[in-house]
């Protein structure tokens, strides 16, 4: 297990290195690094000093090493707009995004699993067909447009839910959380559902396919031959087998959820790092962009690792292979 973890960490480091080269190439080679990394408002003397300070007069490979060294020290530059370290800026906004993404994942499982189970058990029923048609819609609906429509219906027309912001928050462990207050939950509801829309469809499809496949397996027939109650067969025998692919995909999708929160956060003015990155792109606050990118890559690697570990916990067969 330790060896496995070690190997995975090495792999992760490798991917980070590749990504750092890509980002480096993106910032330093494609664009003009002076323009990208130095505030356009700087005067000539400031420019010269910054070029030397950033090592932009050095050959490209040395520049990369400097970039890498700074990155390893957690120094990914300062935001022009906020005049704060880019990394800190992003980390400050991360909890809000994580809260939104977890909320969306929770909603997706809460809604998707039962619907998928039903559609899988009664594949030819009218309701099941309706669920599947709905899931196609869920895949097709442009998230941002649905967000607008949600605001129009629930905030403007009905006035039930607030359209922007996080609402009342509670401090826990030094960060603010919305989901602990009623007002916060009301603020969280629409963005979380909006972000979950795609995942609900995904979970429905995965669950349905898994159920249909599992129901044909011998172990289900054997469970029936044992005289088990149908609910136990579905909720234990079938569900436990389905959870493996569902958890894997939903876990892997978590990164995608964080990425897509860019859109949701922009619509609902949710003060997370997705909104920050869009604002930064719009005002060309490039150190923030670079820092965000590196952080997201790191996050992806961590998510992948966590998914693999969860997978191991769920599927005893993988557990054995992991040891040997």
């Amino acid at each position: 297990m330790t060896l496995y973890l070690l190997r995975r960490c090495l792999q992760a480091a490798g991917v980070m290195l590749v990504m750092s080269v890509l980002v480096f190439v993106g910032v330093y080679a494609i664009g003009d690094p002076v323009e990208i990394l130095i505030s356009p408002e700087a005067d000539q003397i400031e420019r010269e000093r910054a070029i030397r300070a950033l090592g932009l007069d050095l050959p490209l490979w040395q520049q990369y090493l400097v970039f890498l060294k700074n990155a390893l020290h957690g120094d990914l530059g300062r935001s022009f707009v906020f005049n704060e370290p880019a990394l800190k800026l992003i980390l400050d906004r991360m909890p809000a995004t994580l809260e939104l993404a977890f909320g969306a994942t929770f909603v997706a499982l809460l809604v998707g699993l039962p619907l998928g189970l039903y559609a899988g058990l009664r594949p030819n029923g009218a309701l099941a067909r309706g669920i599947m048609a709905g899931s196609i819609l869920g895949f097709s609906l442009p998230t941002f447009w649905v967000g607008l429509m949600l605001i129009m219906v629930f905030a403007v027309q009905l006035g039930w839910l607030p359209s922007t912001g996080r609402g009342e928050t509670v401090d826990v462990l030094g960060t603010r959380w919305s989901f602990l207050t009623l007002d916060g939950l009301r603020h969280l509801a629409m963005p979380a559902f909006n972000l979950a829309l795609f995942k609900i469809s995904l979970v429905i499809r995965l669950t349905r396919a898994g159920v249909r496949e599992a129901m044909l397996m011998d172990y289900v027939k054997f469970a029936r031959a044992k005289g088990l109650h149908p609910s136990r067969i579905v909720l234990v025998h079938v569900l436990k087998n389905i959870m493996i692919p569902v958890i894997t995909v939903v876990g892997l999708e978590f990164g995608g959820t964080i990425a897509f929160s860019v859109v949701t956060e922009s619509i609902f003015a949710w003060p997370g790092m997705g909104k920050l990155i869009i604002d930064s792109i719009n005002v060309l606050d490039r150190p923030v962009i670079v820092a965000y990118l590196m952080l997201i890559v790191l996050m992806f690697i961590v998510i992948n690792l966590l998914v693999d570990l969860t997978y191991t916990a769920l599927d005893p067969r993988v557990r054995l292979e992991g040891r040997t």
Binding site: L216, D218, K221, F222, H229, P316
Partner: protein, 326 residues
């Protein structure tokens, strides 16, 4: 005379497919008494497995029992509702499947899968259920059951998994066990052990056993009676020695002839010419006629199932054996 443990009367299980109705089981009548072993023999596609699943009401759609009776201790299971049927399954009637690698749920521990079976039919505590599961594992010859119970199926070999499946079948000391080719996927030595155990258990508990197989040699040493199926019908039925020594139906003759044997070493094996017929286009008459060396004009009519001698029946108008019907 008490009711037999199981009696099938004119059982029909059909599959409605796109190409038409497949009559997988088409008028099968059988009986098994207490403590008796019935060997149900046939090629793949003959309907023997579907017969087994029909008894437990476990035929998957589009398959459906469309006619006949499944009399279990006099009660017609074909008319029983699903909930009542569930209380019989795994309790009074157990089933053992063909492929032990597939029958146990890969993500649940052995003890979970055993204890749930106990709790499904007996109002006992978890501890009591665990105790029973442990005993059952010991009964089928699994050493250190306490320890092995905590393992997952993939940590067991095929033979061990089949023992676990048998142990599960035995948990409630059923009156009837339907075993669907339970040794086909196993090594010959393991097969022998399992056969011996099955025989012993039947004798001890008075359990009736239906052993479905395509392998005549397995049945020869195990069964009391034998029923040969072909294209969804029983073509011959009788005591095992009688059928094997003096088969009536040409198909049975062909089946026996195609088993390699030491006594006939060197002699060419007999083959049954041709292929099993498509279940969608069965001929109106005898389904075996096209492959039968004794086929004659009369075979285009459906042959009746005739009792040639007491306890010896066959569905053939030109049987091998001597003498007219009794």
């Amino acid at each position: 005379m008490t009711a037999p443990t199981l009696e099938l009367r004119d059982l029909r299980t059909h599959f409605a497919t796109r190409g038409g109705v497949v009559k997988a089981v088409d008028g099968v009548s059988l009986r098994v008494d207490r403590g008796q072993v019935l060997g149900l023999v046939g090629e793949s596609g003959s309907g023997k497995s579907v017969t087994g699943f029909s008894i437990l009401g476990l035929v998957d759609p589009p398959g459906q029992v469309v006619g006949g009776q499944v009399l279990f201790q006099g009660q017609d299971l074909a008319r029983l509702d699903e909930e009542a049927m569930r209380h019989l399954r795994g309790n009074r009637i157990a089933m053992i499947f063909q492929d032990p690698m597939m029958t146990l749920n890969p993500v649940l521990r052995i003890d979970t899968q055993m204890i749930e079976t106990v709790l499904a039919h007996a109002p006992v505590s978890r501890e009591e259920a665990r105790q029973r599961a442990r005993d059952a594992l010991g009964q089928v010859g699994i050493a250190a059951p306490e320890e092995r119970m905590r393992a997952y199926p993939h940590q067991f070999s095929g033979g061990m998994r089949q023992r676990v499946a048998i142990a599960i079948a035995l948990l409630h000391k059923p009156d009837l066990i339907v075993a669907d080719e339970p040794t086909t996927a196993l090594d010959v030595t393991i097969q022998g052990q399992i056969l011996a155990e099955a025989q012993k258990l039947c004798a001890e508990h008075g359990t009736a056993l239906i052993w479905i197989t395509h392998d005549l040699s397995v049945v020869a040493g195990l069964a009391d009676r034998i029923a040969v199926m072909y294209a969804g019908r029983v073509v011959e039925e009788g005591p095992v020695e009688a059928v094997l020594d003096a088969p009536l139906h040409p198909y049975t003759v062909g089946l026996i002839g195609s088993v390699p044997s030491r006594n006939r070493r060197g002699a060419a094996l007999n083959q049954i010419p041709g292929m099993t017929p498509s279940m969608l286009n069965l001929p109106a008459g005898c389904a075996f006629a096209a492959r039968c060396p004794r086929a004659a004009s009369g075979c285009s009519e459906p042959p009746p199932f005739v009792e040639f001698r007491p306890g010896r029946s066959a569905r053939c108008i030109h049987p091998h054996a001597e003498g007219p019907p009794a």
